[in-house]
Amino acid sequence: MTIVDMQSEAFRRLGTKFKGNRIVGNGTDEDVLRRAGIEKADLFFAATQGDNRNIMGAQIAKHVFDVPQVIARIYDPIRADRYRQLGITTLCTTTIAAGLLRDLATTGDWGLSRDYSQDYLDMNV
């Protein structure tokens, strides 16, 4: 596992137990991605705060480096839908959260078997 971030301070949040690689650089730059070992990657996940950066990074992973599985987090539901049609697995956290909240509001249950929060506490990061 390698994490790429523009800002080296961001890696502090990984805590001391994180054993993966850290690369400082722009995740939409082919040279930076090569340095991060994208040519051997089985999975690429773009999860920055910017939809367009995630879309661009994911397309580079898919079309330049032929990474087998490419996922992008996209806030805008329209863009999430259109790029899903182009073959990128898009995770639209906006519609997921809105859907869960709608279920909770209308049925009193949001249908999640668990919310994964304990996993993070257990990691003690």
Partner: protein, 219 residues
């Protein structure tokens, strides 16, 4: 033509003014509200505030009837998505992006953008012509700088001396168009041999200029 420009920085501002004064219908989209206010004071209704990547805003701005969409913001990812969405949603016939990182030119064409413009690349090509040196003399640039006409001097030590043109392994996108010998221009054939003192005039894609130089360089 109806031309939509996305990004109201200096490039977008001057491009809008130039195209409008040439008689085109122009719409300039700017995301930032305070920048938008400054632009609209001067350009009036030609400017619209909003994020050019959003499908609903593209609808409102009339992307459906645009002849050209030009994305000139300072971030390449925004420019890419503006143009891709314009194609997917509204089938805009021609999309052009400014690329800030020259490496993105080929990527963006691969991803369906019709044309890319890299200021870095254009300036680099112009500077390289000034300082190119060696035995290759750049004579002119065609097609916005990516095709060059160069002049290569054949010295007595050149590896191609007395060789026929057909025996050279030229890089792709390179064409020998003339040889100047004793102040006469020759239109060469495959059998023409190089002599010391020849000036070889060639057309070459700027990317392959170095490779072409290597073919003629002294060993």
């Amino acid at each position: 033509m109806y031309i939509i420009i996305v990004g109201g920085g200096n490039v977008g501002y001057y491009l809008s003014k130039t195209l409008a004064s040439a008689g085109h219908e122009v719409l300039l989209l700017e995301k930032d509200r305070s920048r938008y206010r400054n632009l609209s004071e001067e350009l009036g209704e030609m400017v619209m505030q909003g994020d050019g990547c959003q499908a609903d805003l593209q609808q409102e701005a009339g992307f459906g009837r645009a002849d050209v969409v030009v994305a000139v913001s300072g971030s390449d990812d925004d420019n890419l998505v503006v143009c891709q969405m314009a194609k997917m949603e509204f089938n805009v016939p021609r999309t052009i992006t400014r690329v800030n990182s020259p490496n993105n030119e080929s990527l963006f064409r691969k991803l369906g953008i019709d044309a890319t413009v890299s200021a870095t690349k254009i300036i680099y090509n112009l500077i390289e012509q000034e300082v190119g040196g060696g035995e290759v003399i750049p004579l002119a640039a065609l097609n916005r700088g990516n095709i060059e006409i160069i002049d290569v001097e054949i010295s007595t030590k050149s590896p191609v001396l007395h060789h026929e043109i057909k025996s050279l392994s030229l890089p792709p996108d390179a064409l020998i168009i003339s040889i100047i010998r004793d102040e006469h221009a020759i239109l060469p054939t495959a059998e023409t041999r190089f002599e010391a003192g020849d000036s070889v005039i060639a057309l070459v894609n700027a990317e392959h200029e170095h490779a072409l130089r290597d073919v003629f360089a002294e060993g």
